[in-house]
Amino acid sequence: MTIAQVLSAVQLGLLYGILAVGLYIPFRILDIADMSVQGTFTMGMIIAAVFSYDRMPFLGIIVAILGGAICGVITGILHTKFNIPSILSGILTMTAIYTVNLIIASGKANISLIGKDTIYTIADKMIGNDQITKTIVTLLIVVLMTTLISVFFHTRTGLTIRATGDNAAMVRHTSINTDNMKMIGLGLGNAMAALSGALISQYNLFADVNSGTGILVVALAAIIIGETLFRRNGVTLGLISTVVGSIIYRFIIAIALKFDVLPSYALNLISTIIVIIALMVPAIKETRDRQAKKRLHLELANKYLNNNNNVLTTTDKSISDKKNISDKENISEKENMSDKKNMSDKKNISDQLLDKKSGGKNE
C-alpha cells in the first residue's frame, strides 16, 4: 500500500468512526438497535452539502448535528411515549427522513460541491497539503468528539443513561425518568451520525440521498471489530476501540479491493462478510476452547482411570493378602485357644486397661 492509500484508509476510518460512535451509543450503551442512524447519516450529508453550496460550511455542520439530534429524539418519542418497539421506531424515522432529505435538497437526488468551500478546503489554505489537512482536521474532530462524549458519560446524566441501558427498572426506582434518558442517548447518537455524514460530504465534495444504504453494517463492523480486538470494557475504551475498529475495517476493505477478490461494487457484501466473521469469532473460540478442555479432561480422566484400576487391583491383592494372613492368624489363634497362658495374658491386658480406667480401684 502506498502512503496515500494508508492515509485515505485512516481518514475514512476516522470519518466513519464518528458514525460508528453514533451507533455505539444506542446499540451498546442503551441496548437499543437504532436504525434511524442510517437516515440521519444521509441527512447530515445533505444538510452540510446544501449549506456548503451556499458558502456556509461551518454552519452546515452545526445544523446537521442539530437535525440529527432532533430525528434521534423523534425515534425516542415514538419508542418511549407510544410504546412502539425500538427497531420499528428506527425504521419509521429512517424511512420518513428519506423524504425529508429530498425536501432539503429541493427534490435533487445529489449535490456536488466541486469548486465550493468546505472546512477541508479552508483548512488546506492554511496548511497547504491536501492529504495532511484531511487527516489532521478529521483526527482533531474525532478526538474532540470522543473526549466530549466520554466526559459526558461520566457526568450524572451520562451515568444515568448508562444505567438505563443496564437496568432500566432500577433507574426508575431511583426516581429518574428513563424515557428522557433514552431520548437523550438516541439524540446524541443520531447527532454523531449526522456529523459523520456532514464531514463525509465535505470530504468527498458530494452528497447523495442514497448514500445511507448499507451504512449500518459499516458502523456495526467497526463496533464488532473493536470489541473483538479490545473486549467490552468501560465507556471510554469502548468509544476508542470503536474508532480504531473503524480504521481497521477500512484497511481490510482496502486490502480486499486491492487484491481484486471481488469487484468494487461488492462493498456491501464484503462489509457483511467481515461483520459475520467478526461476530462468529467468539462462538468459534468458545467451541474450540471447549473442545480443547474436553480433550485435556478426557486424557486426564483416562490416566486417572488407568492408574486407579492399578491401584484397585493392588489394593485388592493386598486386601486378599491380608485376608490370607488374618485367616492364618485366626487358625493359629484357634489352635492356641486351648493355650491358657495366652488367654490369661489377654485377660491380664484387659484387666490392666480396666484398672487404668477406674483409676486403680482394684488395688
Binding site: 431511583t174 426516581s175 429518574i176
Partner: protein, 255 residues
C-alpha cells in the same frame, strides 16, 4: 386514636382484580385498609397469592388500582407515575439482580441512588460523596468499601443485596418496602442482611414494610405483624399481643 399527621401511609379501599369478567378472575386486593405510623417497622406474612406483593406493586405504582386511595405523608399518590413516587418510596426485591446495574461499579450504583439527594454537581463521583459512600459501606462490615470500583455484576447475591440496601437507605425514602429481600440468600447471609436492615432502619427511622415467609423473622424483627389472606388483612398484631404470639401457632395460618 391516631392523629392523621403522624401517619406516614394511609391506604383506603385498595382494590385490584386481575382478569376481571373471565373465569380466571382473581381478586388480588379486596378493599384493603392500612395505616402506618411514622417510623413503624411492619412485617407482613401470608401465603403465596394472598396479595402481599400486589400491595407493594400498588404502593409503588407498578400496578394501577381498580379502586382505592394511597396517601403517603399527607399527599395523595394514587395516580402519580412510578418514577415520581420512587423519590419517596424505596423497594428491595427478592432477586438481587433487580436492584443494581451489573455493568456499573459499586460507587456508580450508589451515586445513582444518591442522585436525587446529593448536592448538585456535574460529576456524580466527587470526593465528598465518595467518602459518604465509604462510610455507609463500612457499616455492612463486608469489606465492600475496599471494592468500590468493582462492577456490581461480579459480586455475590448477598453482597449485591447489601449494596441494594445501602442504595435504598442513602436515598432517604419516606417508605421502605422489602419484598422477601433475604429469601434468595443462604441462612448466614440472610441473617447478616436482616441485621444490617435493622441497623439501617433504626438509624434512619424510616417507615418500613417487610414481606417474609419466615414466621420467626416476622416476629423478631419490627414492631408490628400483619397477616394477609385472600387479598385481605386477616390479622394485625402489635405490642404485648404480638410478643405473646407463638411462631408455631402463626405457622398454622399457612395451613
Amino acid at each position: 386514636m391516631n392523629n392523621s399527621n403522624d401517619l406516614m401511609l394511609r391506604i383506603r379501599r385498595m382494590t385490584k382484580v386481575f382478569f376481571p369478567g373471565t373465569s380466571n378472575e382473581k381478586i388480588a386486593l379486596n378493599r384493603v385498609n392500612l395505616d402506618l405510623e411514622k417510623g413503624e417497622f411492619v412485617t407482613i406474612l401470608g401465603a403465596n397469592g394472598s396479595g402481599k406483593t400486589t400491595l407493594f406493586n400498588a404502593i409503588c405504582g407498578t400496578l394501577e388500582l381498580d379502586d382505592g386511595i394511597v396517601i403517603l405523608d399527607g399527599s395523595d399518590i394514587t395516580w402519580e407515575k412510578e418514577h415520581k413516587r420512587a423519590l419517596h418510596i424505596s423497594r428491595i426485591y427478592q432477586d438481587p439482580q433487580m436492584g443494581t446495574a451489573p455493568n456499573l461499579t459499586i460507587a456508580e450504583n450508589l451515586a445513582l441512588a444518591y442522585t436525587r439527594k446529593a448536592s448538585p454537581s456535574l460529576f456524580p463521583l466527587n470526593k465528598k460523596d465518595y467518602r459518604f459512600f465509604h462510610e455507609q459501606l463500612e457499616i455492612l462490615e463486608m469489606d465492600l468499601e475496599l471494592r468500590m470500583n468493582t462492577k456490581i455484576g461480579l459480586l455475590s447475591g448477598g453482597q449485591r443485596q447489601a449494596v441494594s440496601l445501602v442504595m435504598e437507605i442513602i436515598s432517604q425514602p419516606k417508605l421502605l418496602l422489602l419484598d422477601e429481600h433475604t429469601a434468595a440468600l443462604d441462612p448466614q447471609t440472610s441473617e447478616k442482611i436482616l441485621d444490617v436492615t435493622n441497623t439501617f432502619v433504626r438509624n434512619a427511622g424510616v417507615t418500613t414494610m417487610m414481606i417474609t415467609h419466615n414466621v420467626q423473622d416476622a416476629l423478631t424483627n419490627g414492631d408490628r405483624t400483619i397477616v394477609f389472606s385472600g387479598g385481605k388483612i386477616v390479622h394485625d398484631y402489635r405490642g404485648a399481643e404480638r410478643d405473646a404470639l407463638d411462631p408455631n401457632d402463626l405457622q398454622k395460618l399457612y395451613g
